[in-house]
């Protein structure tokens, strides 16, 4: 086949990129080679637009064992334990085929974690859909949720936390981000870097089929009206095979047979083989006839570009093939030696005794294009709306409306479709600020959470970037965990648009500043660009997944009220700022002004004080104040208990709406028994932490004198209404 301009374009490569390929090869590539280049040079695999911004993120710290650049990040949690974790997007495939797209997103991220020797212990997800009224939302939502559950439930890893949001910005481009967390002994970590000459390159797992060919290139382009035609590029998942692959790999990892191991994810056999030898400064020769194939007459091109799932590439120590093969046969999996490492520094592809492709490894990896794309700054928007100019609404009515809105109503109808308890170490399930997973047979635990704030990031990316890191940090603090490190999934629009590229650059700047200040490094992540359809870009949606450590699981705490007569304190200052709040959006459909300001030093000071109160066992419950403000935070504390709150009339602010719905940052709610109140006050005052009494816990009612008195049961019913209505017509 002649390589014409059209063939080049179909591979997602720009004319100047093609010229560079010819220059690097010193000749024209053949079709197979072009395919390999396109798989390695697309945005998804090469990070060509994002790389120069990513390198500014703080990635080091005293707990960091492995930062970005490996299959996943690794942190030290003391003794000989380490946690391996990463988040990844599967946005494009999930929009085309929601069940399989979401399922294989979960499968892919799990492989990244167990490839490193870790047994996965938790799954999380962050899923964003278009407006609930949009014609596609119901089927996409149903498909994605069953896909996530279908995979995680079957393989037997608990899905413990997540977030589901609706916004018309995702009408034509949903976001499906999956995060996996694993546990490994520090001396049993496996890496992808190849070492040694003439070592066997082994293929294990499922057979290779024609599914997912060019999946990564598809994920590197915008959608248009022909997106449905892309269905064959979506992979099909088989969680049962993944379970077998996981057990087989973990069994093989018990001894020292493996030199390096890499999962075949995006760009399949191509990227796994290239990445391994690129890191090891070696070459690799693959005998493609030996690749186990599911379909007949597969070509080298198809084998190299297939994204069939549940496959791994392993480089084995000499003489270990027999033992290793026995393990994979026990688990009924394919095992084939398909090549060897070489000193040529080339990727050499052989098929039927002929060399069908030969490319220098550096041309595919280190010489991939890097772009410093043009970007523009987003100015801090001015506040135009004043609450006094808006039509008056009763506090109670506003609260009930928000509680029954898609974004703020109960999401248990989603999480009830996930097995949250398998492995029996889930000490706190979804619905709280963060989930808690005990380290098996130990006293310690980790807390995990994922967060995003697309509206804030859209209004002012720099502030938004800081805010999500802070909110994530706060969520971990709220369950009694010391935040250790994060992973990020950066979902943005088309980087060739300077406004979008600016959103990316400035969100990253915000993330960097917050992470540096809070000593909260980024150890892994994923970038998903080109989220949009026909030039309409999604809101910038970076998603942060955080891990915190609870050294003694008995110190864990939740948000639910414990006893009448206890006092509720608000920690952190309330400035009554309503810009970009849920209140304005839900009640008046107004999206206006700057996001709430971030004061990193207050954030840190308040958070560390809360952690001290928790560890000293001076507070009975803790909840962070986030979207929906103070009042939503208070209502969320009344769920799952028979207690309500009698609110104290606020003294400082004249406007109740500003007081109760403001989303000012760095705030928490704590419940304190009468016995502990003095000690709590002392610690807060000593640490210069602003606090005020908000109310007292009482039985059954949530009330504010002269305003409302609502049964907590009725609040909970309202919290469930949206689901009941929506579910009525989705199932």
């Amino acid at each position: 086949m002649k390589i014409t301009d059209i063939v080049v374009e179909k591979h997602g490569l720009k004319p100047d990129e093609y010229s560079k390929i010819k220059e690097l090869l010193g000749r024209e590539p053949n079709l197979l080679e072009l395919g390999v280049f396109s798989a390695m040079w697309n945005e998804h695999c090469s990070y060509k637009s994002s790389r120069i911004h990513l390198k500014n993120l703080p990635t080091k710290g005293k707990n960091v064992i492995q930062g970005p650049g490996e299959n996943a990040g690794i942190i030290d949690i003391g003794d000989d334990d380490a946690i391996v974790f990463k988040i990844e997007s599967h946005n494009h495939p999930s929009y085309i085929e929601p069940y399989q797209g979401a399922a294989t997103g979960v499968g892919g991220i799990l492989r990244d974690v167990f490839t490193m020797g870790a047994r996965p212990i938790a799954l999380l997800n962050s899923i964003h859909f278009g407006s609930p009224n949009h014609s596609k939302t119901k089927s996409l939502l149903n498909g994605v949720v069953s896909g996530i559950g279908g995979y995680g439930n079957c393989i037997g890893i608990p899905t413990v936390a997540g977030e589901t949001k609706f916004n018309s910005t995702y009408n034509e481009n949903i976001l499906v981000n999956a995060m996996a967390v694993g546990h490994v002994k520090k001396d049993k970590i496996f890496y992808s870097k190849a070492k040694g000459l003439n070592k066997s390159v082994v293929y294990v797992g499922s057979k290779t089929g024609r599914d997912g060919i060019h999946g990564a290139s598809m994920a590197s382009a915008e959608f248009d009206e022909n997106s449905d035609d892309k269905k064959p590029t979506v992979q099909v998942g088989d969680p049962f095979t993944e379970k077998l692959l996981m057990e087989a790999c973990l069994e093989l990892m018990k001894d020292n047979s493996i030199i390096s191991i890499q999962d075949m994810g995006a760009a399949g056999l191509t990227s796994s083989s290239v990445e391994m030898v690129s890191k090891g400064d070696l070459g690799i020769e693959l005998q493609l006839d030996k690749v186990p194939c599911r379909e007949e007459n597969m070509t080298p091109y198809e084998m190299m570009l297939s994204e069939s799932q549940e496959r791994m590439l392993i480089i084995l120590e000499d003489g270990k093939e027999k033992e290793a093969k026995k393990i994979f046969e026990k688990w009924d999996l394919d095992f084939a030696v398909i090549g060897k490492t070489t000193s040529t520094n080339n990727l050499t592809l052989k098929f039927k005794a002929e060399t069908v492709g030969e490319i220098p490894i550096h041309a595919l990896a280190t010489k991939a294009p890097i772009y410093d794309r043009k970007w523009t700054k987003t100015k801090l928007p001015e506040k135009k709306v004043q609450i006094k100019d808006l039509k008056k609404i009763k506090l109670e009515d506003a609260l009930l409306k928000i509680l029954s809105s898609p974004n703020h109503s109960n999401k248990s109808w989603i999480t009830d479709q996930f097995d949250q308890m398998v492995m029996t170490d889930t000490a706190q399930r979804s619905g709280s600020d963060a989930a808690i997973i005990r380290i098996h047979k130990k006293e310690k635990a980790i807390a995990v959470t994922v967060d995003s704030s697309a509206n804030y990031c859209k209004a002012h990316p720099h502030t938004g970037g800081k805010q999500i890191v802070c909110e994530n940090w706060r969520n971990l603090i709220s369950v009694g965990a010391k935040p250790i490190a994060i992973t990020n999934c950066l979902n943005f629009g088309n980087p060739e648009n300077p406004k979008v590229m600016g959103e990316f650059a400035e969100c990253l700047l915000g993330i960097k500043e917050a992470c540096e200040f809070l000593d909260y490094p980024v150890v892994s992540g994923n970038v998903s660009l080109y989220n949009g359809t026909n030039k309409k870009n999604i809101h910038p949606t970076p998603v942060i997944g955080g891990i915190g450590l609870i050294t003694n699981i008995n110190n864990k705490i939740n948000q639910y009220l414990k006893k009448d007569g206890n006092t509720i304190l608000q920690i952190g200052k309330n400035f009554g700022q309503l810009s970009q709040s849920i209140f304005l959006e839900e009640i008046y459909s107004i999206i206006d002004g700057p996001p709430p300001e971030i004061n990193l030093s207050n954030e840190k000071n308040n958070g560390l004080a809360i952690l001290k109160l928790i560890n000293d066992k001076l507070v009975s419950s803790v909840h962070d104040i986030s979207s929906g403000g103070l009042i939503l935070g208070l209502v969320e504390m009344t769920f799952k208990s028979n207690y309500g709150i009698k609110l104290v009339k606020p003294k400082n602010l004249s406007n109740l709406m500003e007081y109760y719905f403001s989303e000012d940052q760095g705030r928490y709610l704590v419940e304190v028994t009468p016995d502990n109140l003095e000690k709590v006050n002392k610690i807060l005052n000593e640490n210069n932490v602003y606090n005020e009494v908000i109310g007292m816990v009482q039985k059954n009612y949530f009330e504010l004198a002269d305003q409302f008195k609502i049964k907590t049961n009725d609040l909970y019913k309202t919290y469930n209404t949206w689901y009941n209505n929506f579910n009525g017509f989705i199932s």
């Binding site: 069953s146 088989d238 308890m421 005990r438």
Partner: protein, 225 residues
């Protein structure tokens, strides 16, 4: 007491049940599905999960595996057998228990804490519970909707072969608490001799206060009685 946990490819509650059994002082062994010998056991547990991916039909392939022949022999000789979730599905596939487990009535996976009422305590598995005691256990299944013939259902009721029924927090057995749609709110059943118990809820997930509650403990300690 010696227990054996059968491990199929795709079992995923095998470790959980082993942890629970060991915590409650059973001497436990794991038995791989390709094995043809069963260690000497007083109790055999078929754990939850997705044996063989639950392809074809939940439990169908596992029901035909090597080790199941040994389990059937032992069960017929009176050995105690406990099938939880997928284990219950497998037991119905082998015929050791009658009836079938259909898709949940809402056609969705159900993963949540539910209440069951202890209907019958005069058996090996429930003698440490009080009659009518309400337990909070966890379910996690796609196919837990128990169905059987009218005659068999009558026999189950008349001969006290139903140890657990789904109920609400106050112990009332009603439609609202019957999430998967099982006949008569059935959460678990015995064979005629009451040495084989199949149940959809997971007792092994409720043996540790730090994680959940301890409502599952007495099922295991009853066996030691």
């Amino acid at each position: 007491m010696n227990s054996s946990v059968i491990v199929f490819p795709g079992s995923n509650c095998d470790r959980d049940i082993a942890v629970a059994l060991e915590k409650l002082k059973f001497k436990n062994k794991m038995v791989w599905h390709k094995d043809t010998d069963l260690p000497k056991s007083d109790l055999i547990v078929i754990p939850g999960g997705f044996s063989y991916g639950d392809y074809l039909r939940s439990g169908a392939i596992a029901g035909k595996s090597n080790i199941l022949n040994e389990v059937i022999k032992a069960a017929n000789d009176g050995c105690l057998v406990l099938g939880i979730c997928n284990g219950f599905q497998i037991l119905t596939e082998t015929g050791l228990l009658k009836g079938v487990l259909l898709r949940n009535k809402n056609l969705k996976f159900l993963g949540k804490d539910i209440q069951v009422k202890v209907i019958n305590t005069e058996n090996k598995f429930c003698n440490k519970y009080e009659k009518d005691q309400v337990l909070e256990l966890n379910i996690a299944h796609n196919e837990g909707n128990y169905f059987t013939s009218k005659e068999h259902l009558k026999k189950l009721e008349n001969e006290n072969l139903i140890p657990f029924k789904y109920c609400d927090k106050d112990g009332i057995i009603n439609d609202e608490s019957n999430l998967n749609g099982s006949l008569n709110n059935i959460a678990g059943i015995f064979n005629d001799k009451k040495n084989i118990l199949g149940m959809m809820p997971h007792p092994e997930r409720m043996v540790d206060q730090v994680i959940s509650n301890q409502d599952g403990v007495n099922l295991f300690t009853s066996l030691l009685n």
